[in-house]
């Protein structure tokens, strides 16, 4: 029977059908749904790991016993997992190990763009690239076969338009997992990566790559589709789908396995078609390799953009050149007000960042919802780099600035991100006598990616109760002497605490308390009032409340006078349906014109 599945759901289904028994991930768009979906299969042990490196090691350990195991991450997660990954290529596996890495070209929801195909070449492991949900499921299953047959981890590549696209999938039964599992000290030469063994395994990798190259030529999902012999396109994944859509009459070499490449098939394709075009998203990965084989191509990155996401019209425009006919422009979208993502009405980050802005400090942010106050009107995040970097950036800047920087820098990090990569940076700040203040905004969940559990929430991915890390205790053990809790919904007190801690010539940590994510169902903060309202006659139209950037507050232009006779050009308005009653706006109003509403 066929069902409509999202690419990520299809990967999860493929893992289940392949007989996977262990799966681990750290959430990251566009990969997060895979593990959430896997967690619904009772036959698979699944977990949110604190970061991608741990997730991959958990999976590798499971694989060494003979079990089939899968790790999932977004493209930047692979950077974190790259340390175990590069050497896992040497040890190989016993049970199949598949690593799903989902790219985000155009950085819809990321801090950069990366072409993960480069990992395959770098680590010398095979990579499969599905083009729709059916292939997501099929390729996941085949990836496990390849992994066991060639003693290698296998990469499966997703992208936003594959992972987050839904299409029909034929579902199948589950393969019975291997029951004879175990660890064997006789495997030491294979698994203990000390130099003497490394050199032997290094040779095995070369042998494996040669075998995989031969396999690529027989791989049934590398396919030549002969149509018009004048032009042949080499493409994989979403790029194939877009090109096929616009130029259905061209011939195609559709690659299902993008590393290693099927050399014989490529030779055959060049013989059968007159001109070859390579269409690929981001880097000239296929182009570089195919050119290195000695072939001349008609078009590649000379016309196809090397960055951002491809779309059908970008492929069409690039290949048609001057003959491309622009669709009718009826309005210039740049003239319309944008609708960037914003902190939710009532979000605890809003109070914290408003207070931070008051301190005048340079704020090193991190990866999560608390990067959103980068946008106007708050504009209270001044830099961010990668998971966990807020802490070390602030610390490093302080080391360079010396006493001059006291009171002027801090790092802001979320609870999940802190557990992911922030802990060593706090240890460094204490150990090497830095003064940076680390602010942990604890919203009790992994917010931005869709509310996943983590080691600080007290629950596992399957909702079972688990140990809950106490951030205060944790940082005290690291050696932080000054640990303060603040209520981010009290702007004045929060500002004072932040100023005091930032002025201190010693490491300090400030933790927000009782500020769970507004989308959280289990943990809700109870606000004193159901909502707030503008006293229409008292509002002077000073716009101070608008500086909070709350989606529930808007500005109405209408000249008039207040009840005490002051002229005004307009006034604020609170949308009662959106206002959860957090009360921040009533604290910033200097004229007591924002008052509690009655239910």
């Amino acid at each position: 029977m066929k069902n409509v599945l999202q690419g990520n759901e299809a990967i999860a289904r493929g893992a289940w059908e392949a007989g996977v028994t262990v799966a681990a991930a750290y959430p990251g768009t566009p990969s997060s749904e895979i593990l959430a979906e896997i967690a619904t299969y009772p036959e698979i042990y699944s977990e949110w790991s604190p970061n991608e490196k741990v997730a991959l090691e958990v999976v590798a350990g499971a694989g060494y016993t003979g079990a089939r195991a899968m790790a999932c991450m977004k493209h930047v997660g692979m950077n974190v997992a790259s340390d175990p990954f590069m050497t896992l290529s040497y040890t190989g596996v016993k049970g199949g190990v598949v690593v799903v890495v989902a790219d985000d070209p155009y950085a819809h929801s990321s801090q950069n763009e990366q072409d993960s195909r480069n990992w395959a070449r770098f680590a010398k492991v095979p990579m499969l690239e599905p083009g729709d949900a059916q292939e997501c499921k099929d390729f996941t299953k085949i990836a496990f076969e390849i992994s066991e047959k060639f003693d290698t981890p296998v990469l499966l590549k997703g992208t936003t338009r594959i992972s987050h696209a839904d299409s029909l999938v034929e579902e199948g039964p589950r393969k019975v997992p291997r029951t004879t599992l175990g660890l064997d000290p006789k495997d030491m030469p294979k698994m203990a990566m000390v130099p003497v063994n490394v050199r032997v395994r290094r040779k095995r990798i070369e042998e494996r790559m040669r075998k995989l190259e031969a396999y690529a030529d027989e791989f049934v999902y590398n396919k030549i589709e002969l149509n018009d012999p004048k032009i042949g396109v080499i493409a994989a994944g979403a790029a194939y789908m877009f090109t096929k859509e616009v130029f259905p009459h061209y011939s195609y070499l559709k690659l299902g396995m993008i590393w290693p490449l099927p050399k014989k098939m490529i030779a055959e394709f060049f013989k059968k078609v007159k001109k070859v075009i390579i269409v690929e998203e981001m880097d000239p990965f296929l182009e570089t390799e195919i050119k290195a084989m000695g072939y001349k191509i008609f078009h590649g990155k000379d016309v196809i953009p090397p960055m951002y996401e491809l779309t059908p019209e970008i492929v069409e425009r690039s290949l048609k050149g001057k003959t491309y006919k622009e669709p009718k422009v009826r309005v210039n979208p740049d003239d319309l007000p944008k609708r960037p993502p914003n902190l939710c009405a009532g979000c605890s980050h809003r109070g914290l960042f408003y207070a931070l802005k008051k301190t005048g400090a340079f704020v090193f942010g991190d990866i999560g919802c608390y990067a959103l106050p980068y946008a106007p009107p708050l504009q209270a995040v001044h830099a961010n780099l990668c998971m966990g970097a807020s802490v070390s950036l602030a610390y490093g800047a302080g080391k360079a600035l010396g006493k001059e920087g006291l009171g002027k820098v801090c790092g802001v990090i979320g609870d999940s991100t802190f557990l992911h990569a922030g802990i060593p940076a706090v240890a460094d700040t204490v150990y090497n006598k830095g003064y940076a203040t680390t602010i942990i905004c604890d919203n009790r969940t992994t917010g931005m990616t869709g509310l996943q559990e983590h080691p600080g929430t007290g629950f596992t991915i399957k909702g079972e109760p688990a140990h809950m890390i106490d951030y205060g205790e944790l940082v005290r053990v690291l050696g932080v002497k000054h640990v303060r809790k603040v209520d981010p919904y009290r702007i004045k007190e929060t500002t004072e605490v932040l100023k005091e801690e930032m002025a201190r010539d010693e490491a300090s940590v400030v933790i927000t308390a009782n500020g769970p994510c507004m989308l959280h169902r289990r943990e809700k903060r109870k606000f004193e009032h159901p909502f707030y309202a503008i006293d229409g006659e008292g509002c002077r139209g000073c716009k101070a409340c608008l500086e909070l950037g709350c989606p529930a507050i808007s500005w109405i232009e209408e000249s008039g006078t207040t009840k005490d006779g002051k002229k005004r050009k307009g006034r604020s308005m609170i949308n009662r349906l959106q206002c959860p009653g957090c009360g921040l706006c009533s604290q910033v109003c200097k004229f007591e014109a924002i008052v509690p509403g009655k239910a």
Binding site: A165, E316, P337, P341, C344, L546
Partner: protein, 197 residues
């Protein structure tokens, strides 16, 4: 079945239920025997940003994205989010818009104006094919403004006379929790009536 692929672009603001609407479409057109593809941007878009879903059905669909300028239908849940995608529409496109304004930050801050008379702008290019539905008002009358998306789906279903109502309603009951079945079936029926008349 001919080779034609039909392109439906859905747009709205995070939280309006545009994604549920696209799930209903997928359910219905699969049951009707078509190949379907659907693509959306998740992640940061969940936080009050604009949300678009590309939905395509036909005998065989390759691209998960609609080509710019090639949408046969625009189903928009908010006025500005309709306008933002006006260039995506073919000249012969059918436009269904929910008559609701959700103010974006620059408008809230008084820095930019919310564009006036968006339906009028659409009528200039798609005269006779622009349908403005008071989805929120109608859903509120039924008892829950949240059902506005299904009111719109009901109105939209009129463009597909070959597909029976039962198929649409089965999608609703398959996809939604039981306690809101009745409300949403009513919302669908009300929406359906609006465009018929």
């Amino acid at each position: 079945m001919d080779d034609k692929v039909t392109n439906i672009l859905l747009s709205g603001v995070g939280g309006q239920g545009a994604i549920l609407a696209s799930n209903i479409l997928a359910h219905v057109f699969v049951e009707a025997g078509y190949d379907v593809k659907k693509s959306e941007v998740h992640g940061m878009a969940q936080r009050g940003g604009d949300v678009t879903t590309h939905f395509r059905y036909g005998k065989k669909v390759y691209s998960p994205l609609i080509k710019y300028g090639d949408a046969h239908f625009l189903l928009a849940f908010e006025l500005l989010e309709a306008y933002r995608y006006i260039n995506y529409c073919r000249n012969d496109a059918r436009i269904v818009i929910n008559d609701q304004k959700i103010l974006p930050p620059a408008v809230n801050l008084g820095q930019m104006k919310y564009p006036e008379n968006i339906p009028g702008a659409f009528r200039k290019y798609f005269d006779g094919h622009v349908y403005v539905i008071k989805g929120q008002e109608m859903a509120l009358k039924l008892g829950n403004a949240q059902a506005a998306n299904v009111v719109l789906v009901g109105a939209f279903s009129n463009f597909f006379p070959e597909i029976k109502d039962a198929l649409w309603k089965r999608a609703l009951t398959d996809l939604l929790p039981k306690k809101i079945h009745e409300l949403n079936v009513k919302a669908f029926d009300e929406g359906k009536k609006v465009l018929k008349g």
